[in-house]
Symmetry: D3
Subunit: 235 residues, 6 copies
């Protein structure tokens, strides 16, 4: 299986679905990350948030694509959609994770809107919670009891945020997993709203084929697609 | 995997999730059916609806339990909950299917309420659509393109309804699967609202053990638990 | 009665409410179309989508206005609102049809937002479904059993999309009308969410007067209002 | 056209949709009322609420059926559904008005549930607001500017409530019509949530035939259908 | 200020709003508890749950009324409403706390429905979360950082449940307060859905008068009002 | 207590929460106003809407900040967010009032989105209704019976709108307060949706300290922050 997780800033993905991505990694699934901005306006220290995100991707054995947008200013509309479409075209994911669109952070909202547009021909889009989400009402849960400590380590890769951003709080993160777990009758859970989820009930185990096209290699340098070069049909 | 499907009347389960149950059967999962009433007030012919439901259960290789309630009068409350709890205790299902609670048919609403109460310690409850459901907004889909014809055959087991009940319409049933499929980017789909769904991302394939306790054998004669004999804790 | 239907791309209106517009035509109502883009990024063949939309308008005896925006890039905000306001000012519609705003396609969302803003002093706005809509929960239905075949012919005017765009699927379109019809206890229905609908219970039949002001003549050439020339108060 | 309005207590119908019923009357439509209880536990004076409801029915030229249930104790379930089914069978309404089901009054909720069940094969159910409704979000409006004074007179037929029940407040009633009217860009409106509404766009005016079966004559004496005599299929 | 908290079973109130009631106690507000059942079907030990609830009431300096209903069988309808109305009549609360009605436990749902009905003339009803609530979306928060330890002690009064009922989990309870607190930008919070909340912006501090009528003294013995003796108007 | 009210145009704040601000004033709370545009495209007369807004601010003893955006064109995104963040930084409000985001007016939507983003670390955001709001479902109410006449006077400060804008209608405004009041069991109420509301149950009366930092003095001349000078962290 191939999954693509999209977040607005370094650490958004890990906070929202880090343990689930660790579970994908453990299964041998291919994991790709698309981070729309480098979070350059957050309280980072000298070691750049780019490096922190690269470290997190390495822990996840995930490829990493940068969206190249400005922190605080992710556009709603075609430019952002095109970036996501390109990431989809490269990695052919079976499922996409992104922010729930009900969020007070403008970059989270814009990212969610772009992903929902870009993924409109896909069959599976799951939406994760952020500290700024509102009225999050999940219906799909992943058991992360065995992974909660590893998730904490993963988030710690984003050292600058853990130390300085009041909305990145490891204790609250554990409480969140415990709360959603309790509601799902699990010890710890990551929780998702489902835009569309295809439950695979095929009788045969799905071969995880070696014929899969190689996922995009990690690309630490931000890129922005030239306007006018968009080749993926949108309607 | 063990699943239990609960419906108010003969044919409700097959209309709502028949193809999905056929997929479970094909995987070797154990399927149990709990039908709350015999539908005795519907437009049945001489051949009883009990027999039709038994035929459908046979096609599904499913055990069948009758709830023993009166058609049109499924109670909201403890009696119905107890019947569902007993069925759960016997079959230890991993997942329950039942009516969405937003439905204009009183028996569908009462059945849904009873199942949600009885299953409140379980991890997985999926809700299917009926012809009388309202504002059905599914988020989990099962690909049934290979099973839509078999589903039609399954529903035809309920011959009396297909011939005489205007709300059982095979053509509309196919349109429903086509509509939900199109929305989920599939050819045909059964669609579910998710109260709670545990997505199993464990790395190892789940053994479908032979140590499973045998499911309740088909029980054509309706039973009603004696009041006062309820032994399953409810709070 | 005068109605205005607004869509983002050629074919959106016909897919969403084509049979209803045919019913308006049969009643002698005036029908206007406003199409925000020419859909130039879709999989069209040589014969332009402009011509296809003109053909569809001719079948509907409808006037046609082009919004002049770029496919995939309909703006949210004043420019789009102004275009809709101008179309309203010209045709004085009693009712507007447009996309439901809950849609994963950015152009559909932007068009819906623009129409809802521009029509905020009007009494009737009905919202139709697209293949990319989400959580569509209609409450007003139009019986289109007698018109479903004509609707198919109308959509076939958009030949390039029917042949090449996977989301334009005549079979799925019929299933959609059958599904909504079944839910509304009709054979085939077009379904609408209602932002505001005025049910006319006046005792006298409404004269469909010949004194109506002429609707804007069909305008095949795209126009875009000059910025700064906006004369319709917006607050 | 034939309409049936169902309310839990004397005055509920007039408060919720009295002006709309006056509009039906003015059009020559047949109006039937079904009142589930006689409201005997309210603060009535010597002149019975039965008489007040009869007076209101006379003003509306409406037939009147009593449901025969106990005030404060309208059952959720088959008995109430059967009463509504009988009223439907007698009057063959094209449309039913009843309480919105989101209401803190148990009798309003039970009545709404019963009507939604009994009307599940009908094409049109509109839901009106009561003083105890919650989160009422109407989408269909009727212009009652010409009828607001007549509505006040109609409600004044329920003299005992106007004088003594704090939740029957003519000034608040006018404010309600003014508020909903303003939101619908009308002067005064009655507002409805729509469960299902069939918008008739047929080209020919609908003949209001003389072959209509006569509506049930007003029946002031409460009746309750004998249990076991229910002959209307429910599933 | 006078508040009344209503729960279905011993411990429901303390789990849902225990810290908030401690805050009321600290302000000198009068606190009343109404517990609909004695929870006799839960996994209690020899020391009765009645005694545990009395202990909790003593910690809260709260009066205690028992509803007298059977565990697992709280009725939806007039009997339960009457019990709540009597409790309201005795204690004249300014605000009522109760279960959110969206809950899979039948007793929680029935209690919430009864309270919403009984309180329909009151100005303030806040709804708390239970382990079986679904889609809880709070909008009013109380800062309980200084009270979270005391809340744990309060819940420990319900020793039998803490030891034996899997859905009473002190660690999960703390995680819940931490989660809601984090979302409300507090350290620990209790969270409420608001049916109606009156924010008092009066310029003068509200006198907490000594002329208050005495609250009903704690009544450990269950009572059930005789049918027919109901004297509180319901419509 | 310090509150900040944000509106898109002159008069939006007074229409939405004018009486509540008068109540704050009467308590001695500090009130700040942020108006995003000068409403220059509305039907104003010679006396500018700037002056009218200044008059309204004076009546409220409120400081006034202008957002400096163009009427009809308030941006969704960083520029608007930055303006709100600056206003927050200057006045350190405990609570913010703004438009509900469900509104058909683009400026209202954009203002609401900007405020929700800018206030994402705050504990209290209440949302008011406008004539163009849709599906407004309030849960927090302020009793304004003693202030409704003063609110009318406050709105009359916006003379140009009262005389010429059909959506500013004092009679409808009173009906709105009467309607919401009736629903909240009050005579007149202003009603709010609650994004987050912290109910202060601290035992001691809150000192309204003289050490408060002075609110920004009224700034009648519109300003627009230079792009690039944004210094408030956003993520």
């Amino acid at each position: 299986m191939r999954v693509l997780a999209v977040g607005a800033h370094p650490d958004d993905i890990e906070l929202g679905c880090g343990a689930t991505l660790l579970a994908h990694q453990a299964r041998g699934d291919e994991v790709g990350l698309l981070v729309m901005t480098t979070g350059e306006r957050g309280p980072q220290d000298a070691r750049s948030r780019i490096g922190e995100q690269e470290d997190a991707a390495a822990i996840l054995s995930a490829s990493l694509i940068w969206g190249g947008f400005e922190d605080g200013n992710v556009p709603e509309g075609r430019d952002a959609i095109t970036v996501v479409q390109r990431a989809i075209a490269r990695s052919s994911p079976d499922l996409i994770y992104t922010h729930t669109p009900r969020d007070t952070h403008q970059d989270h909202r814009a990212t969610a809107a772009a992903v929902l547009s870009a993924a409109r021909r896909m069959r599976q889009v799951l939406l994760y919670e952020s500290p700024t989400s509102i009225q999050f009402t999940p219906s799909i849960f992943v058991d992360v009891a065995a992974l909660i400590e590893s998730k904490m380590d993963l988030v710690r890769a984003h050292m600058s945020q853990v130390l300085k951003n009041g909305l990145v709080d490891l204790e609250a993160l554990e409480a969140q997993a415990r709360y959603h777990g309790f509601r799902a009758r699990l010890r710890y859970a990551e929780a998702f709203e489902s835009d569309r989820f295809l439950w695979d009930l095929a009788p045969m185990p799905q071969p995880r084929a070696s014929e899969r096209v190689a996922l995009q290699e990690p690309g630490p340098s931000p890129f922005r697609p030239p306007v006018g070069e968009i080749d993926v049909p949108v309607s």
